[in-house]
Amino acid sequence: MANAKELRKQIGSIKNTQKITSAMEMVAASKMRKAQERMARGRPYSDYMRTVIGHVANASPEYRHQFMVEREVRRIGYIIITTDKGLCGGLNINLLKTTLKDIKTWIDQEVEVDLCLIGNKGAQFFNNYGGNVVAASSHISETPAMADLIGSIKVMLNAFEEGTIDKIYLTNNVFVNTMIQEPTIRQLVPLDPEDDENLKNRWDYIYEPDARQLVEGLVTRFIESQVYQAVVENVACEQAAKMIAMKSATENAGDLVDELELIMNNARQAAITQELSEIVGGAAAV
């Protein structure tokens, strides 16, 4: 039978942990609300941007920007967005697993893979796992500024323009609701045409003033907005996942305490019973 004093110590330490996890849960919940708001505000822009880009990719212009031309794929790039801190359940691991599966299908086709990592967790993971990391940035704040992200993305885009990378994917967690965060992989460049029958016929925009300039500007803005939105969304996912993880940790701690208290009470009761029976036995002997 376990020692009552030891048990009491264990219960105390679990209760302390529980206090910490429940505080973290509350912090995450309040941060999540803000992050979710930020995400919701930015979503329409990035969604419309994607639609417009989908239209543009369907057009058959006299001028085809290199962002619109599908090339033979020899080397591809992934922009992988993970969180900076842990304690958010399976969020990062789910994303990385999905990404790795995708990467593997490319490697099987003898395509080389370059990685651009945003967020600490991805950097740590690929440090151990291996992989050709061409750019990494971490310690993105909860209110990310475009300027913090542009540097590492620029490396990828330059490589694309030079022709060393033939495709760029963006992978991040998409916030579905508080309980569900979906790892998603989306193609950034070359532009992915939208599947719309109405747009399949040959047509083109009137460009004012100049197709090249416009498409270039639009594509730059598109990539910025997609990456920015992905980062903002990832922050919301992180806080949601953290909240859930901490909630279940708090609940688990509660269960543990209950269990241990039961054992402790059992032990105490047994000790009392034993003492009593010893006294009674002793009295009978006299």
Binding site: Y48, V52, V56, R221, S225
Partner: protein
């Protein structure tokens, strides 16, 4: 696309990086494109152009007009939809005239100071933007 009262309408959305500010059927859109003012009716041929800082006027179903201010961005026109991807967009009635005038003064002052460490391009863009904002207010505010 004809609505019930037989006037043609087109779906117009104005989104800025911060929010979706307008999304509904309209009868006409007047915006400031890179090379001049554009009036867009339903069924317009596909068009892609930049936006210069200036007013965006929407003629709503029923004839009412609503005025927005866009500070730059892109317009995509499809026969059945018009999308304005603005850098920032405001309802004309929400513009703070005093703040805009102050911002313009500040930018002009910066330019007049003629210091070497200012970003000339940015200051000029600021002046253009605030001037367009003030123009929008003075012209369309009821």
């Amino acid at each position: 696309m004809a609505s019930s009262d037989s006037t043609a309408t087109v779906h117009c959305s104005i989104v800025s990086a911060e929010q979706e500010i307008f999304s509904d059927q309209v009868e006409m859109v007047v915006a400031t494109g890179t090379i001049g003012e554009l009036g867009i009716f339903p069924g317009h041929t596909p068009l892609l152009t930049g936006v210069k800082p200036g007013p965006v006027r929407l003629k709503l179903v029923g004839g009412e007009e609503e005025v927005f201010f866009a500070s730059g961005g892109f317009i995509e026109v499809q026969p059945t939809s018009i999308t304005i991807l603005a850098d920032t967009a405001l309802r004309a009635n929400d513009i703070d005239e005093a703040a805009a005038a102050a911002a313009q003064n500040k930018a002009e002052q910066e330019l007049a100071d003629n210091r070497s460490d200012i970003d000339f391009g940015r200051v000029q863009a600021d002046i253009q933007e605030t001037a367009a904002m003030l123009r929008t207010i003075r012209k369309f505010r009821k």
